[in-house]
């Protein structure tokens, strides 16, 4: 098998887009349990970069670093049950947040339309009451909103 080139922290930083300090921080927290060292220096393998990319994916979808640590540590040749449990829970949370975001998106869309309508009429004061606006919005745009 290929000896798999190992990268310095600066190279890993360039490849991952994360600052070196953040990589060190993640290592300290235990987010990269398989990271190697040669005479004290961290050496990143391709597997480490793949793990890092998963860390970023979980982080950017709102998983706390402590939970990511638990997930990354629950590896090895043992049963994948621990990882499955964490992932299923996270999946549910991501779905919930997606729903919330979609609702917010609709609300923001209505608000934008609301202020555009105010501009057309020459001032917020000239807008009809909210109930009429909601009706008009639904009719004009075909969209619903949850005001």
């Amino acid at each position: 098998m290929k000896p798999t080139k190992l990268l310095s922290i600066a190279e890993a930083s360039a490849r991952s887009g994360l600052p070196p300090d953040t990589l060190r921080y993640y290592d300290r927290l235990g987010l990269l349990p398989h990271l190697r060292r040669t005479s004290g220096r961290r050496r990143f393998s391709e597997d480490d970069l793949a793990a890092l990319s998963l860390v970023v994916c979980l982080r950017d979808t709102g998983m706390p670093l402590a939970s990511i640590r638990d997930f990354m540590r629950a590896s090895g040749p043992g049963t994948p049950d621990a990882r499955l449990a964490i992932l299923r829970k996270h999946r549910a949370e991501v779905s919930a947040r997606l729903d919330e975001y979609r609702r917010a998106e609709r609300r923001v869309d209505f608000k934008i339309w609301y202020y555009e309508e105010a501009k057309r009429l020459g001032g917020i004061a000239r807008l009809p009451p909210l109930s009429a606006l909601l009706k008009q919005y639904r009719k004009e745009t075909g969209k619903s909103t949850n005001w």
Copy 2:
């Protein structure tokens, strides 16, 4: 016109689900510019509760409190341009985050399937190489992933 009942901070907390300290904090930051007081005590109108609900909507979709403050302050009978600009920018950010979340959802779905497959085969070590797994995943589930 109706005198519109005004609520104490405890009542506003119950109605909004936000702790009183958070309401005071938001008021300090200027997120509720129209909030009244009688002899020092905050009095929340229905309009204030509606404003609060918008604050929560923006907050929960990732807008910093300082930007929410700018938005809530840019009110009055003047032009709605400032509010429109902030909303359009926020809308774009929410859309971007939605896309990112959807991608993460797909990736997590694949990871879940991956560990389920590992369980079926009796260990991660027995899994075929990633390229074969991706093919099989697409075939079995009809889903794509961005691994």
